[in-house]
Symmetry: C2
Subunit: 334 residues, 2 copies
DNA sequence: CAGCCGGGGTAATACGTATAACTTGACGCG
DNA sequence: CGCGTCAAGTTATACGTATTACCCCGGCTG
């Protein structure tokens, strides 16, 4: 009643276990005759044979499995990163296993144990890098996603052109005449967000004003932050740059609650281009981040590293998608 | 430069490999003295020893790993199912690996191979059941999520009380005076959606009218379907029941494009209670589905099945959350 | 003092696979 | 005719762990 092994197949087919292994591994240029090969294959399927992956992994010393470390899968962005990584992995006979909650709600246990499998390498989002390091994940081949290229030593990097994304946002808003900016920034401490903040600061020239509010990436926080910011003295901002579509949607909603129209009175931009961006009204002007491609390139990079090939690639380009949440700056009425 | 094995630890500590295994496995009631145990542990951490999971799995004949088969992780609902399953799994020393694209874009290969690890059991969403069967996954302990309890033979089931959810929706809308309904139904062929459609049909009494449009679960499809439905002759519906929040959001947007106000002219309800539901305006009246609990119970059920315990549990209750997208039926004006 | 017991450990083994090393006929060629 | 060659397999082994069965020795008991 137990699963058949390669030896069972061998016995049933009247050959040796080695032959079975050779046939099923497609390793028989001239080792096995076509006749016996066919016999072995037929027997294997007849018995419903499936190789024991644990045994194979042990023998080969490699599991063809990568660990993807991300903050939370419920964030559509990371779900898409996973999808991309898993696709490339599958094309190369690899699997991807997740470690989604290093700082989240789950029990913060050893990912290498929770993976329940030996790992060949790790792909880690910078937003979970601290957990990685605390655990000793740096003993495995490592690819970092969206992390500071100057840090992290020898690890391969896959980065989005975040600074350029912010440049596109800024230029778009400046061209529309905006001068008073509010940056709804993520409270998460990460290279990604630092880079954006820095880019925004340097790109806004003289004659402009920038206020920054840091908050967690939830719509509620956006609302609270907005109310405080718009009630502040000294003239309210006309453009709100958000680190995330969720924040942007929250900002739009908060604005309307306060009696402001978007985009007539207030322009709002986001980041990510999630499904949410086109579900809300007005549809969000936002920076499209090709999340799947991040996953794909991350896996590609890891495969290269595993082969010993040095890997490097330019930042993944991002593009501003102009929709309905931005418009000309309002003329300073009464 | 290669990873240390338990034998390396043994040699370094001056004991046998068996002792190392005993100590690290916490299997020493009186087998090993406290002194040597401490020595072994110290040596292990000093060398950075990590047990080879492949070898352990082979030896134990179990990997403590479950496969979760879902349609797509980018659907927030399934991401949350995963999260719940992974949490319970981790509490029991189990891991969860995903097979997310049986009918999606990815290469539809053998999930048991793509998992790259021997599996102890499978948790499968009904929306991917066909793929499971075609592959032979029924040879493993199986838990079905939201599938027909009468089918699938002996497999354990974890179901949401979908019919009751639809009942709450219907009663809510009937109480508001609605009599003309449009059901934006999912085109996916699944017990989940069939149950809802059936419940809706039977719950709507005489004197009511129901039209049904089946479409994929995307906002764009909702829009198209809406335009067709509202332009149809014979009086337009006043209540739109959607199988999904994404559809509902699309329906709201389409309505507004057609010059109809929600909820004054048209009431809209969703299903799932995704983050989207509160991000859009008006916030959606929708049926809250505790997705994490589905994952948790799925994993709990699988653990029970693996222990040979028969498992059964009542349907998971769902609750209608009334927000701003539903209101009294408009009085039939001119 | 012999026997026995139990604490503290070790040697040996099996899990199922992939592959290197070896074997065995049959055959071609000098 | 003898030897190298080659096709077609087979035998043997190692991967790293968990666990069973065994061993040794000091002390207690009768």
């Amino acid at each position: 009643m137990t699963r058949p092994t390669s030896r069972d197949v061998a016995t049933a087919a009247g050959v040796s276990q080695a032959t079975v292994s050779l046939v099923l591994g497609d390793k028989w240029p001239g080792r096995v005759s076509e006749r016996t090969a066919a016999l072995v294959r037929e027997t294997a399927t007849r018995l419903g044979y499936r190789p024991n992956l644990a045994a194979r992994n042990l023998r080969l010393g490699s599991t063809r499995t990568a660990l993807l470390v991300v903050p939370a899968l419920t964030n559509e962005f990371f779900a898409r990163v996973y999808t991309g990584a898993a696709r490339v992995a599958a094309e190369h006979g690899f699997g991807v296993v997740l470690y989604p909650s290093p700082d989240g709600t789950g029990p913060a246990r050893d990912p290498f144990a929770s993976a329940r499998a030996a790992l060949d390498g790790v792909i880690a989002s910078s937003m979970a890098a601290h957990a990685l390091h605390a655990i000793g994940g740096d003993t495995l081949p490592l690819v970092m996603l969206d992390s500071d290229p100057r840090a992290a030593g020898s690890a391969a990097h896959v980065n989005l052109a975040m600074a350029d994304g912010m440049r596109q946002v800024t230029q778009h808003l400046l061209a529309l005449g905006h001068r008073r900016f509010l940056h709804l920034a993520s409270a998460v401490d990460s290279w990604t967000f630092d880079t954006r903040a820095e880019a925004l600061t340097t790109l806004l020239g003289p004659g402009t004003e920038l206020r920054t509010v840091r908050s967690p990436l939830t719509a509620d926080d956006a609302r609270t932050a907005m109310e405080a910011a718009l009630a502040a003295p000294g003239g309210r901002p006309t453009a709100i740059v958000c680190d995330d579509d969720i924040l942007a949607a929250g900002a739009c909603k908060a604005a309307r609650r306060l009696g402001l129209r978007v985009p007539e009175d207030l322009s709002v931009t986001g980041f990510d281009d999630l499904a949410l961006a086109t579900a809300v009204e007005p549809e969000l002007t936002t920076v499209h981040l090709p999340a799947e491609r991040v996953g794909e390139q991350g896996m590609t990079a890891l495969l290269a590293v595993l082969e010993g090939t040095p890997w490097t690639a330019p930042d993944i380009p991002v593009t501003l998608v102009v929709r309905d949440s931005t418009g000309p700056a309002p003329t300073p009425a009464p």
